[in-house]
Each structure stands twice: as structure tokens, then as C-alpha cells.
Amino acid sequence: MPPPSKTSGKNLEAESILQAVVLADSFNERFRPITLDTPRCLLPLCNTPLIEYTLELLAVAGVQAVYLFCREHSETIKNYIKKSKWSRSYSPIKIITIVTPEARSVGDALRELDAKQLIDSDFILISGDVVSNIQLEKVLDAHRSLGESPIFVLDTKTNECVHCESVELYPRKRRMTMDMEVFKKHADVQIRNDLIDCQIDICSVEVPALFTENFDYQDIRNDFVHGILTSDLLGKTIYCHLVKDVYAARVRNLHTYNAISKDVLSRWTYPIVPDSNLQEGDSYEFMRGHIYKEKDVSLSRLIYVSIFEGLIIYVNNTYFFIISIRSCSLGEKVLIGAGTEIAENVKITNSVIGRRVTIGPNVEIDGAYIWDDVKIKSNCFIFRSILANNVVLEENVIVKRGCLLSYDVVIGPNVTLEPYTKLTKHKKTSESDNEGEESNENKAYDSTLIGEHGQGYIWSDKVSDTDDDEFDTKNIQIAGLAHDISNISLTDSDSPPSVIYESSSDELSDSGESTTEEESLKEFFKEVSQTLERAFLDGHAVEIASLELNTLRMASNTTFHDLRVGVIPTILGQIDIENLLTSAEEILEQWGPLIGKLIHSRQDQIDTLYILQDHCAITQHHAKLFAPTLKKLYLLDVLDEDAILEWNSSELADNDSSKSSIRKKVAPFVKWLEEAEVEDSDSDD
């Protein structure tokens, strides 16, 4: 959990006030359709709006001025702040809301900040959905004195962050590249992927200015941090502050929403727990078994029958055996807001129930988030879903896992919602950013789906993620489904993984291969070969071709490895088999250097060799290409002898005859290399 901080040698003045910039907009749509009505930072987590957690964190750190950036629903946020305790005259924090309707990313917001010239000292940059109990003071102190889980490479002595790479679940990353310079400069380097990036940044005054200069920066992590780290010109440094034994997490998607809620209920976030009553007027009390109840909750009979079932009462020398008391039972990790009424024979476990909710008899709720003023009538069953404000469930409704019912939706009676159904009162067609492919345009609600009295439309995720981190659709699926990752056959465990799993995303990805990823890769390979063929035809220079390929790589967010996988077969495909040697000589003389352009390290060279080997092992026909290609590439200095030797010494998969036959073909060449090596070292002596 390291909030990287940026210093430029200029320290905070002791008397200047501490400022913070809170980004109230997430610049993405992962919480749709709920965020159509409410901004994300006002979504309730354990019945407290998310932004309260962030502001509380800042208040504890002694921040005096907060600039709140909003884009969508700015009026709602403004009103909320105006009414909250923060805007009282004697509130320790002054909150200034800034509306930037045109900002599309974090970068835009920071440029706006620079344009307005509001910041006059170092500041804390945080998004409006962070839940944490970090003692920011300590981090700030560290920042003053000195000046993700992604992979962070840190200098162990100074905690300077020298490299940072984000890891998405898809596409998988098996390698990362680092500049050799790094190792020259820093004797002691740590590479860690067990850290969670809690997205709290302490920035020096220059940061917004840097964003203005680099107008293409969108995201703090991917663009800014990377830009700073890779560019020598700027001469800025980023430090990480590692904090242990504290909790910090950001509500990025429904999945983390679920995980963080659970963590808050099981008190990992102490002292930010429901019974410390963050908001004024809250009156939560803690009870054994992580049950939090506000005052004025009426539970039927108030007996936790699950424990007392089959109670024996001894009165007047007679035993009365009470078989079962009909009442409601609360399991572990339950939070119930004020004014909620729960009828008899209701079972609730692992859930958050909002204020003024009425729950009818014989209802079972497990792992659900039920917000304020929801009405649930009898015999309903709700499993791992979110029910937003004012939702009404009529009798006999079954809500299966992962459902998301937005504001004011009515369901039922006698309906079963399939897993991962998203319902909203808004018609999809009114949204301009998605094609209105919804079938029931201007029609009444689909009563077969949501019941006779039902009100609401199906919301389908045509995700157009504006976050600019080019998301794999798979990632979105994981993020959105929230409640059960096992359903996408990633892990066997049925329990929703907690936030900490973000760091071990590599592991997760090992067990599942996605078709969507393959498709996008296929698409990419097709484009690569088309680009190359154009280059062959028009006789482009190697530099131009390489530039084009690189652009393509960046655009589709793939790795050099993928690029090589695409390029090498295409180039080899140009070689005329009939006239093998001369043709190979000719083609590679011209295009071999292009392969060289895609290779940056020894590891890359070996990777290239494997690609070559795999390609040539496809048919007997291809196999002929291998030896001449290898030789030519060696002569062109694309591959060096060490790499070839290392590749040759690596083990082959068992009984892979075609590959071993390829190895045999180049055996003389390898032998010659080995001898040359020995001679070399001999002559050195």
C-alpha cells in the first residue's frame, strides 16, 4: 500500500495549509446502471456514502482545504456537501467543489487544476472512493523530511520508486522489461508484487503543471508515473511509502465493493467501522458475531433463534419443550440501519441492510446489499446482489447471484431473476454512448422477465470504458460480476476473493484462458501481417515499418512478444521455398533488422528463437527455413551466440519430434558457435 509521493526537493512550509484534491468522479462506468442516478462517491458502503470515508481519512490527516472535482451529477454532490457536517462554519475542513463537465480523465482534472492556479503547496491526490485507515500524517512527515499492485520496483534504501508496471488480469503478463540504467543507479533493488496501490498520491506543486505540459497524460499510474520514470528529461522522482498493517482499498468495481464491505464489517478497517458512527446521527452498536444494529430496528421477537432452537424451559416442576420459536435470525456480518422492520422467520447473513427497509416474512437474504427504503415482501430469496434505494420486491421473487437492481425498480410477483441481471428504470436508448439495440423501445416493461407489477429495463453492459486503460472485456466481466469470480472458471473457491487478491492476479489468470483475449490477439496478428505486407509491397524502410508496428502494438496494448509472434512468421512467409537459400538471404537481408528492432534484451532473443522454432515446427516444409534463418539472423547480429547457446541448452518438451529434428538441423551450426566460443576464451587466456 504505497502511496507514491513526488518531491522536488521543495518542502512544505510549516505554516501553509495542507490541501487535498479529491476526484469525485471515477471517469469510468463500472457502476452502471446505478451511477446513472447517483455519483459513485455517494454510493453507500455499509450505509455511509463512500466520500465520507475519504473525507474522514483526510480530516484525520489534518487536511484543511479539499478541492472536490466532480463531473457527472455535480449538483447532487454539491448539495450533499452543503448539507453535510463538513460545510458547517466551524468544520475543520473547507470543501470547495469544482465542476469540470468536460474532463474525461484524471489528467484533464489535473490540467484544470493547474489552469485555475488553486494549489500553492504540496497536496494529497486521492479519489473519492478510498476506504482506508492509513495514518497519512506519517506519510506526510516522510514526504516533508525527504522530500501498485502492480509491480513496483523500489530502491530499498531510499524507497524511491524506479519502475512501476500495472498488471491487468488479461492479457497475462509473463515478463516485464526494465532499463539497465536502473540497476546501474541503484545497487539495491526490490521487485515486489505483493503491494496494493491504494491510489493516494502526495504531489508536489509541479504535478498539475506537468500534466499541462504533457497534454496526453490521462491516467496517473499508466501515463504519469510511467512517463516520469522513463523520461530522464524531467528529472523528477517518485517515492513510495510502504505502510504495513493498515487497510487501504479503493472501491473500483462491484467486486471490490463487496470485498470492502465485508472487510469493514469484520473490522479490518478499524477505527473506520460502523460503530464508530462516521456520520452524524448514526447510532450503530456492535454485537457478537459482527452484527451491527442501529437504534430503532425492529426485529421480530428479537431472539436469535438459531442458537436457542429447541429451548427447554422449566416452570413449576414441569418441562416445556419449545420446538421452534418463529422469529428472525441474524447470522454473521450483518449491518442493519435505523427504522428497519424485519418480520418473522427471516434469515439474514453477510448482508448490509439500509435504513427504513421493510422485510416481509420468510425471506432469506445472503450476501446482499440492500440500500435505503427497500421493500421486500414475503417469501423472497436474495443472494449476493445489490438492491438500490426504493426497490420493491413483490411476493415470491428470487434474485440470484450478481444481480444489480438500480433505483426504484419493481420486481414481481413470482419471478426468478437469472444471475447477473442488471435492471434500471432508465431506458437504454436515452443514452447516446451506446447503440440503442434494446428491443423493447417505447414498449411497456417486459412482464415475463420482471413480473406483472414489474417496472424496469434490462441494462446490458456495452462497456465503453473511458478510463483509457484499454480494458480487456474479460477484465470488465471480472470487475462487474462482482460477486462470484468462480463463475468465470478462474478459481475453484466459491467465496468472493478479497481485495488482497489484486496482488496475486497473475496466479488467478493461470487457470483460465479467455476466448475474447484470443480473439483480440488474432485481430492483432491479422493487422500485423497486413501492415507488413503493405511494407513488403511498397518496399518501406525498416525504420518506418518498425514505427508502424510499434504504434499498432501500443494501440492494441499488446507486448513485444505478441508483436514478434506476429512478425516473424510473416517475414518467413515471404521466403520462397523453391529457391530457399538465395531467397532467405535476400528477404532477411532486408527484413532481418526489423526483427532486431523488436528485440531489446537477451531474454527477447531467446524468446525470438522459441517463436522461430515453434513456427518452423509446424510442418516439414517450414522446418527447412530454420537453419538458414538462424544463420542469417546471427550474421545480422540480431541474435548473438550466447542467446543461441542458451536456447539450445534449454530443455525441450518430451517427445516433440518435430522440434528436436529442428534442433538437429542446427546442431552443426551450434557446435561451430560453441567451438568459436571456446577458441575465443582460449585466445583470451
Binding site: 480530516a59 458547517r88 485507515n133 465485508k262 477505527p271 454485537m287 458475531g289 473457491s493 467465496s495 488482497i500
Partner: protein
């Protein structure tokens, strides 16, 4: 005299600091509360005593108590201030002189009729000076307690303690100036406050040994007495003390060793515990079980109580700033310090 707006800001600030646990330790909390209430009393304009009591009790007191219900010292101080106001008015009114706590109800009723602004004007400075006296007493709590150190610690004794308590620390250090004795400190998992305590004691030249919590029972037979601090003392004489204290006290009981509790009277609360969980605070389970265990944390319930409830039978003696008292005497102290009307704030 401060304006009401400043006062509001001050109240808000204390409420927030209490809630965020930025003021910690019963002593600091009580001093801050007392100072704030002094301000409130001096800023409030009142003609009838019930107005003042209402302001102190409902407007300010309740907010402070609600801000941090587990910090019983806040409620204690509010109660003491209320008692003080009632007492002062009682002696000040024309029934004054005779009424000292015995005929509470009748004198109060009479008093409420006496709504002359003149009376209020004259009573107000008296109440404030009384409050100041209380603050002074709070400030001198430690001195009064450690003065008794010599009576309780004798040469060559082996004393066991648990957790880190400022009172106990000063108590032992004072005794160490004249007497030679050794101290066993239980390390007090998971906070390891015992380590800090041991370090501080050994720096003062006391022969100190840290023992693991599991060794408490084993070494108890060699110990002469257990001296420990507490977070709060409840009306029945039970303690809300650092987790581990219950084990130490039970072990001491088994070996018939005296358990001596050093505490200021400000920690004495008029509240009764209705079960072991009341007034306890469950903190993040992180030190007990790392979050990195991943899978498992979803499947188990982790509790990390910060405090233990030690029942009064296990305590032999309270050393307070007004001298040593057995647990059975506490009801008397409560009657002296708090008014029954104010128990429920």
C-alpha cells in the same frame, strides 16, 4: 469569555478528535473534557440551574459521550461536573450550608423555583472556581497516587504487571528510588505494550524481566503481588483493562496473590457492566491474523478485543488519588462523586 461560535468549534473539534481517537488515554481525555466543560459553563448564560444542567448534560455532554462511548472517562467527567453544579447550587441557595447530598430531591425542587438572575450571577463564578479545582485535582492525580508507592512496595519483592500504564510506571519508578525490587512484565500480545513498559522500567534502573503471556501462570507462584493499571473501573468494582489482564488476575487469584490496581478516581464510572462485551472495543484483527492469509479470512470470524473485563472478585485493592480502597467500598465513592440523576447521559 469566548463567543458561542468559537465554543461550538471547540466542542466539534473535541468530538471529532475523540471519535477519531486522536485524543487517547483516559487522563488526557478527562483533562480535555473538563477544560471544555469549564468553557461551556463560563460561556453559558443561565438564570435557572436546569438550563445550565441541560446545556452541560444534553447539549455538550451527550455529544461527547456519543462521540466515543467506549471512553468512559468522558462520561465520568461530565457526571462529576453536573454533580458539582448541583452541589454548589444546593449549598448556595438559602437551604445552603445544611444540604450536603442527603436531601437531594427536596432541595433541588426548591431550587428550581428560585430563578432569580441575581442568584445565577453569584453562583456562576463559584461553580467555575470549583471546576478549576477539579481540573487541578485531575492534574495532580499521578502525584497523589505515587505518593503511596512506599506503603505498597517493599524491598526484594517480585511484582508482576501487564500492559503499559502510565500510573503504574510512575508508581514503580517512585518506589525504585528507595527500594530494591524486581518486576516481571507480561508482554501482552497482540499490542506488545509490555515491551514498552519493560523498556521504560529498565531504563529507570529497575530489575525487569519480560515474560511471554503463556508464562504468567507458571511464574505467578514466585510473585509477591500484581500491580496493574486499568482503562476504567466500573461501578461494581470490575475493571475494563488491557486484554490479558483477566488472565493475570485469575492466575493471581489461584495463587492467592493480591491484585493491586492503580487508578485515578476519574476512571471510576457509575455504569454497571451488563455483560462481558459491554464497553469492550474490538480493533482490527490484523495483529492476530494477517490479512495476507487470504482465503482463510473469509471463512473465519476474527475478534481482537482490546480490553478485558476483570470481575471485582479478582481485585484486592484500588489505589486511587484519595487513598487505597477495596472494591466493596466503590459504591461509596460513586455516591460521593456522581449524582444518581446523571448516570444516564
Amino acid at each position: 469569555m469566548t463567543g458561542p461560535r468559537d465554543l461550538n468549534a471547540q466542542i466539534e473539534s473535541l468530538v471529532n478528535r475523540l471519535r477519531r481517537r486522536q485524543v487517547v488515554g483516559s487522563w488526557c481525555v478527562s483533562i480535555e473534557t473538563a477544560m471544555l466543560l469549564r468553557q461551556v459553563v463560563s460561556a453559558t448564560r443561565w438564570n435557572q440551574v436546569e438550563t445550565l444542567i441541560k446545556v452541560v448534560k444534553e447539549d455538550v455532554g451527550r455529544r461527547l459521550v456519543m462521540a466515543q462511548p467506549r471512553e468512559l472517562a468522558v462520561g465520568n467527567i461530565v457526571c462529576r461536573v453536573l454533580r458539582l453544579i448541583r452541589e454548589k447550587i444546593r449549598t448556595f441557595s438559602f437551604y445552603g450550608g445544611s444540604g450536603t447530598g442527603t436531601n437531594t430531591q427536596s432541595s433541588m425542587i426548591n431550587l428550581l423555583g428560585d430563578g432569580s438572575p441575581m442568584g445565577a450571577k453569584r453562583a456562576s463564578p463559584l461553580i467555575i472556581s470549583e471546576l478549576q479545582e477539579m481540573i487541578n485535582e485531575l492534574e495532580n492525580t499521578y502525584v497523589n497516587i505515587i505518593d503511596q508507592a512506599m506503603e505498597h512496595i517493599h524491598s526484594n519483592e517480585i511484582i508482576m504487571t501487564v500492559g503499559k500504564s502510565r500510573t503504574v510506571e510512575m508508581f514503580l519508578k517512585t518506589a525504585a528510588k528507595k527500594r530494591k525490587f524486581s518486576v516481571l512484565v507480561a508482554e501482552t500480545f497482540p499490542t506488545y505494550l509490555g515491551h514498552e513498559m519493560a523498556l521504560s522500567l529498565s531504563e529507570a534502573g529497575i530489575d525487569t524481566t519480560v515474560i511471554s503471556d503463556s508464562a504468567i501462570f507458571a511464574v505467578m507462584s514466585r510473585v509477591n503481588k500484581v500491580i496493574m493499571g486499568t482503562h476504567a473501573v466500573l461501578a461494581n468494582g470490575g475493571l475494563i483493562s488491557v486484554s490479558g489482564a483477566q488472565m493475570v488476575a485469575t492466575a493471581a487469584k489461584h495463587h492467592s496473590k493480591p491484585v493491586v490496581v492503580c487508578t485515578g478516581l476519574y476512571k471510576l464510572s457509575p455504569l454497571y457492566p451488563y455483560d462481558e462485551d459491554s464497553f469492550n472495543d474490538l480493533v482490527a484483527p490484523d495483529p492476530v491474523f494477517s490479512f495476507n492469509e487470504g482465503d482463510l479470512i473469509d471463512k473465519v470470524t476474527l475478534l481482537n478485543p482490546y480490553y478485558d473485563y476483570v470481575s471485582p472478585e479478582l481485585v484486592s485493592l484500588f489505589i486511587t488519588n484519595t487513598g487505597g480502597h477495596p472494591p466493596s467500598y466503590l459504591y461509596r465513592l460513586i455516591n460521593e462523586n456522581y449524582d444518581p440523576d446523571d448516570t444516564d447521559i
